[in-house]
């Protein structure tokens, strides 16, 4: 298993990545020198595997947040590219603009023709500016709704892939009704008579995530996060110091296991060893299998019942005393 040199390394990934690079070097050396190093390489590979297991089975919430933001992590279009045999992106909200922070389109996912919508981050500065760092404006949410209406009209299931650091907080966004755009999507998605699956693939920050995140099933990748505000935002307000984000991530319980325990998500999707960025293709395959499994179930449910179940699901969310 040859590993390409990883360009961006998180602090806690470092020991494994360094070992992997060493193995890579040894393999090249063995090849060029003709020396027999197989035993040594095997030994080191075993060690790397153990180390990886050790590190990744004991991740803190903050480490998961960092993985969710890993610049090499697969994004919406990566998943679509690997999962779908057909994808035609549809642009624009038909009112104001095309928001590149959200992609939406028609797709074929094995036997199902579906609508896929997701926030899209950029890779590198230029691409990130183009994608507005995955932070949608109101027209992004309205494009999503416009395309979801196509799904309803032509009776197609809807898949949403969630990955955003938040809805964009700008003057134009407020002028064009960021709040109304998100509210409208919650209102409409709650009652769309087609199967609706939400997958949190990276960052699930607040209303910006929820704006395309209402459905019959909520799935969450192992190393993604989802909460009411970003750890930095929470830390800046409650700790009066954004640097306390790791503490805020712990306190708000933002990780996938937390959300499963709190009864919010239906399933945690296990990532390839070392995180989704370690093997995008494999990650996409795992996500695809999970979506298909849930989709096959949901397609069996009569639509009226589906809507009742969806309302029930949300009715139960929360915790109170009386």
């Amino acid at each position: 298993m040859a590993l390409k040199t990883q360009k961006f390394v998180l602090e806690f990934e470092r020991p494994v990545v360094e070992l992997e690079e060493k193995i890579h070097e040894m393999r090249e050396y063995a090849l060029s020198s003709g020396l027999e190093l197989d035993d040594d390489i095997k030994r080191l590979e075993k060690k790397a595997g153990q180390l990886r297991k050790e590190i990744y089975s004991n991740l803190t919430r903050w480490q998961r947040v960092q993985l969710a933001r890993h610049p090499l992590r697969p994004y919406t279009l990566d998943y679509i590219g690997h999962m779908c045999s057909y994808f035609e992106e549809l642009h624009g909200d038909r009112h104001f603009a095309d928001d590149r922070a959200i992609v939406s389109g028609l797709a074929q996912l094995d036997e199902f023709s579906v609508i896929i919508i997701g926030q899209q981050k950029g890779r590198g500065t230029k691409d990130n500016l183009y994608r507005n760092f995955g932070m949608p404006n109101p027209e992004g949410y309205r494009k999503a709704l416009r395309v979801m209406d196509l799904a309803v009209k032509f009776d197609k299931p809807i898949i949403t892939l969630i990955d955003t650091p938040g809805a964009y907080p700008g003057i134009g966004a407020e002028e064009r009704g960021q709040a109304e755009a998100i509210a409208r999507n919650l209102f409409r998605m709650a009652r769309m008579p087609v199967p609706l699956i939400n997958v949190i693939i990276g960052e699930g920050a607040s209303g910006g995530a929820l704006g395309i995140g209402v459905g019959d099933r909520i799935l969450m990748l192992e190393n993604s996060w989802y909460s009411v505000i970003s750890p930095e935002g929470c830390a800046a307000i409650l700790w009066r110091d954004a640097a306390k984000a790791p503490e805020a991530a712990e306190a708000m319980k933002v990780s996938a296991p937390d959300l499963l325990e709190l009864g919010i998500v239906d399933e945690i999707i296990k990532e390839p060893e070392g995180g989704a960025h370690h093997n995008t293709e494999q990650a996409a395959q795992i996500v695809k299998e999970a979506i298909l499994r849930h989709l096959r179930e949901l397609m069996q449910i009569p639509r009226r019942e589906l809507l009742e179940q969806r309302l029930d699901k949300y009715s139960k969310m929360g915790s109170w005393k009386e």
């Binding site: 809805a167 964009y168 907080p169 700008g170 003057i171 966004a173 407020e174 002028e175 064009r176 009704g177 960021q178 709040a179 109304e180 998100i182 509210a183 409208r184 919650l186 209102f187 409409r188 709650a190 009652r191 607040s206 209303g207 929820l210 704006g211 995140g213 209402v214 989802y226 909460s227 009411v228 505000i229 935002g233 929470c234 800046a236 307000i237 409650l238 700790w239 503490e247 805020a248 306190a251 708000m252 319980k253 933002v254 937390d258 959300l259 709190l262 919010i264 969806r310 309302l311 949300y314 009715s315 969310m317 929360g318 915790s319 109170w320 005393k321 009386e322």
Partner: protein, 284 residues
């Protein structure tokens, strides 16, 4: 979502607006010294400049409802601290202290009553309880109120006064946006009117759910209404915000508020809307 921040910044003058002891109150907008009894009679609107002082749910109830008709329900519901949340202090301690200080159990009061003889179900948020933040209890009480409006086939009213979702309940607070919006969607399917009244402030997750989903949106003059807080926006874009930004009049200009109503006319204008929706056109 960031009511703490705003509390520190914008609430300083508002503290004084919160009707302190003593017979006289100074208007923060125009500086007029107002006799407290007079202000009360004027429904907490400055007689000189029309500045709308922030008031609690109890005062709104007395302003809007026919005398003695309001009956509260689910009054005893309280937060359960599902995350066992702690920053510099425990959420549960902070919550207890707030209950003691305000005499309220949560940031929303729900009940039934009559407005000019129209039977309605209403939820009134209250900023003095943790900045009117929306956690599980607020979401659940509003959801049950909407369910009751559907069951009774009575118009639904929500008066918002909230900095947004409550951070101390994490994802559960966020999901209250989805829950209340879903309930409103079902209510709408049954063609039951829903009137949203936005007061100062209505921001964050509250605006991005039920506050923006009314058949009619009424705002009080000068109320801060928006999604992101002004400071966050300023920080993000690195420039000053235009004058009047995110105030009722600005938000109406941009198409998200139907009518701005002076507090003195609030009851009458709501009653007229209820008359309109209740009216049946008979074919002669």
């Amino acid at each position: 979502m960031d009511w703490f921040k705003r509390k520190k910044e914008a609430l300083k003058p508002v503290e004084k607006k919160e009707l302190p002891d003593g017979l006289w109150i100074k208007c923060d907008n125009c500086g007029e010294i107002i006799y407290k009894k007079e202000l009360e009679k004027k429904l907490y609107v400055c007689p000189k400049c029309d500045f709308h002082f922030r008031i609690g749910s109890d005062i709104y109830i007395s302003i809007l409802f026919d005398k003695g008709t309001f009956t509260e329900f689910n009054q005893s519901m309280k937060a359960a601290d599902p995350l066992n949340f702690k920053d510099s202090r425990k959420y549960s301690d902070k919550y207890k202290a707030t209950v003691k200080k305000t005499g309220m159990n949560e940031a929303v009061v729900t009940g039934t009553g009559q407005i000019e003889k129209h039977k309605v179900v209403m939820a009134l948020m209250d900023f003095k309880f943790l900045g009117g933040s929306m956690g599980s209890v607020v979401g659940e009480k509003i959801s049950r109120a909407i369910d009751l409006a559907l069951e009774n086939k009575q118009p639904m009213l929500i008066l918002s006064s909230s900095g947004g979702a409550r951070m101390h309940e994490g994802i559960l607070s966020l999901m209250q946006m989805a829950k209340t919006s879903a309930k409103l969607a079902r209510l709408a399917e049954h063609k039951i009117p829903y009137i949203s009244i936005l007061t100062n402030p209505t921001t964050g997750g509250t605006t991005a759910s039920y506050a923006m989903l009314g058949d009619v949106h009424i705002a009080e003059p000068g109320a801060l209404i928006g999604f992101a807080g002004p400071r966050v926006i300023k920080q993000t874009i690195g420039q000053d915000l235009p004058p009047g930004f995110q105030r009722s009049e600005f938000v109406q200009d941009h198409g998200f508020i139907d009518i701005i109503v002076h507090r003195h006319e609030l009851k009458q204008r709501i009653a007229s809307l209820l008359d309109f929706f209740a009216h049946q056109n008979n074919v002669a």
